[in-house]
Symmetry: D2
Amino acid sequence: MTKNPLDANPFTLEFHPSPQPPKSTILELPIPQPQGAKTMPIRVTVWNENRHEQKNPKVAEIYPQGIHGALKGALEGQGFEVKTATLDQPEHGLGGNVLEQTDVLIWWGHLAHGEVSDETVAKVQARVLAGMGLVVLHSGHFSKIFKALMGTTCDLKWREADDKERLLVVAPGHPIVEGIGEYLELEREEMYGEPFDIPAPEELIFVSWFTGGEIFRSGATYTRGRGKIFYFRPGHETYPTYHYAEVQKVIGNGVRWAAPLASADPRVFGNAVALEGK
Amino acid sequence: MTKNPLDANPFTLEFHPSPQPPKSTILELPIPQPQGAKTMPIRVTVWNENRHEQKNPKVAEIYPQGIHGALKGALEGQGFEVKTATLDQPEHGLGGNVLEQTDVLIWWGHLAHGEVSDETVAKVQARVLAGMGLVVLHSGHFSKIFKALMGTTCDLKWREADDKERLLVVAPGHPIVEGIGEYLELEREEMYGEPFDIPAPEELIFVSWFTGGEIFRSGATYTRGRGKIFYFRPGHETYPTYHYAEVQKVIGNGVRWAAPLASADPRVFGNAVALEGK
Amino acid sequence: MTKNPLDANPFTLEFHPSPQPPKSTILELPIPQPQGAKTMPIRVTVWNENRHEQKNPKVAEIYPQGIHGALKGALEGQGFEVKTATLDQPEHGLGGNVLEQTDVLIWWGHLAHGEVSDETVAKVQARVLAGMGLVVLHSGHFSKIFKALMGTTCDLKWREADDKERLLVVAPGHPIVEGIGEYLELEREEMYGEPFDIPAPEELIFVSWFTGGEIFRSGATYTRGRGKIFYFRPGHETYPTYHYAEVQKVIGNGVRWAAPLASADPRVFGNAVALEGK
Amino acid sequence: MTKNPLDANPFTLEFHPSPQPPKSTILELPIPQPQGAKTMPIRVTVWNENRHEQKNPKVAEIYPQGIHGALKGALEGQGFEVKTATLDQPEHGLGGNVLEQTDVLIWWGHLAHGEVSDETVAKVQARVLAGMGLVVLHSGHFSKIFKALMGTTCDLKWREADDKERLLVVAPGHPIVEGIGEYLELEREEMYGEPFDIPAPEELIFVSWFTGGEIFRSGATYTRGRGKIFYFRPGHETYPTYHYAEVQKVIGNGVRWAAPLASADPRVFGNAVALEGK
């Protein structure tokens, strides 16, 4: 995979280029749209647990600005308006009107899912149902918010053993794979394997192959209320996964896909007079 | 719809026969199966809130043994082994090994969803994920267990105004509509209307038409873990809906569809050695 | 529904405004996108059988430029680049490089499905599988191309009797309902009813209620290869359905949703060397 | 995988037992059903091209009674009533009332898809839409009947190089995986790899891992009309795949799942009088 020139961190881990590089990059793509349309950037908040970065020098070396910082830079390079929030901030950085001003929330957590307050989880869930997009990354599969939206344990198999991961595209016309070739390759990643205890994805985008003999549904979309959810597997903290341009592109595509409708929610619930015979 | 001869309650509400009666009844159906197979009945537990029956003489007249009693009789008539459980029993009637000995749980609640303990909800959810079938009826859409499995508010529009409901089949080859014609008709029912805040059904079985101008996704299936879930809309407590043979047949079909696999759960989660290279 | 001011045809049929008007119109919507992105209009070809317009003065009065002409005007008003093609043109108007220069094809046919050449159908199907979007309208459900892509008869119930149609939204976060309220109303339309012999939609967007007691899955999406397909029910030729702004908006939303990815198709089929161990 | 004792063919290819053997076999499973139900066997017709068996001594050695003969024996051992039909029989063995007396048709073809008459394909398709189950095996992905039902090219990647295939279960509660562990292993098989140009499966049952680095959606279900379709990947003619008990069990489970409803088709299409206001 090609390294992102926007990221100046000189880490030196090896990686293999994708054998079938995509024909274009996201910044070059013409975006079809109506003439004369007004444009505004999608507002992204990257939420990161930010604990590994404090504890593990290896992680801090790969992500000197934190995983949230790396994702912020990558997404700003794609034209998004990006803020960050972390677990140890007051109200986990999601207080005030942060959620109201977020179109798409990205979620990375691992060690401290249990420390996220139930109140915050409820607020995020309500905002997703109202239309906010949610991109859940890697170990976020076990976050309270993802489990609350899925209704399942979200458990899986895993192994930290420098497996190679190859993410093969199984939804070739989906906007999330815009500009992506037949597959992505990550020379070294944590393995996640089936069974993955999630509801059947509404759209299955990627399936991963691992050296150790496992497969995993590694890109999956769901709708809950008016909100769109994209789960994307890669991103173990000890690998430079989020520095790769193709991974960043998939996340950016996911953000664009998950962005809410521009129009207000017209739904009304509860006791209703008849539409006929009025 | 034809009244169920198994039910001796002489209520006298009018009803209209379905204009396209199904060609066969469930008791006459030959069930294809391997020769020599051992058979055992599916074990059903009907859970009912059982509050309306205590408070409202009209409901008590329609369901003198309670909604749970009516469903028990109907399902025993289809060959199932049926027990009942109600809210005001200790542990809501679901303590001990009741859930372990239940293949399919039927859930009816309305007034007192909040009184169901979180502990019971967690136990039921765990059992569903392990394979127990769940049939959620009517106002059970707002039960804690259904919302926990769906991840959404499960809110909807409603009206009590003697609307006619016609449930049209949109999945004509599905086992849940075995023996059912093009549609079911209920001369008088509570109206439920869209928007219905549920995840897109994995299989949409029925869509209802109401006199007042609304439609509703009234038969829907989901899978969570190894468990199968069937939501079926009809059954407001002030109408004799569960006395109709076709409604009973749909519920019985749903129970059969939702019954768990006979084999043990082979899934193992957590840290895993590689399958290759061992 | 509000009449489209872009259309100057002074037909005088009555219509009822939608009781819950959408909060915004498509021309006012800010379209979120990356900063600095180049833009190009989506290229639409509207294919119309164009026979009713020649035979029936009532249809000619409603659509003096043909159904294709009315749709062309409406879509140009939304910023699309639009061409038309009709059955009686050489190669049905789809010869040369017309399909290669079409991002989304709209299809309306009714009387003469059998006159569309199998060669043309095969070309359109191949182009859809390669990524061209396809919006199939109304009686196009019985077109050769829709049946070829669905694999079913696509048969249904119908009645011409001035039924009222109400299309209720069941996918409230989908881009196809951007700017649409809880439902659309058409005061008079042909009735289409279930059973509708299509594969279960990948996304069910609208369900219609009809005065006569029927329901119909009236907005449905599919993916075939890299191509996206949107079936939208309304549009009987003797009603001014395509002159209504909300109907035009749904079709425009459908075109935007169905537009192909900008990147080239990376897929390679056939005999393949191993990715590992090379 | 364990070899099927019902098959006396003394081929000697090595195979590896599944590391997590299923806890039960299909013949031991108690089949839950209503008490007093009449039973009748499901009628299966195994259709086989039967050309490799005539041309290639290696194939004839593995399948001395043909692939159809091996499957017939295996399915009879599971209690099904089984007939066979082959390409070179008059009307490909599917004339007369064969299809009318078939509940589930199994299809294996490879070299001679083009020799199957369009008339036969149309008859099979009509019978599937009316409710007959269809199990498509391996290279049947390219059969006329599968392509007609899918609407896509059904193309894929492939390689004959003795890859190991591991089919991992991703739908753990589905009847097709009754009695199957977390995965099946085939020590040597032809590789099929993504992209697989099929519509998104309605239910994805298995995903395969291959030694060479590929994955493949190897167990997938669809519904067309009243008919259920199960595509199952394994079964290259030069390997003894269909002699393995677990493969036979999956096929038997698929047959049971795909068996038609016992009740007659209630659907009526065409011009319809209103259900209301009659």
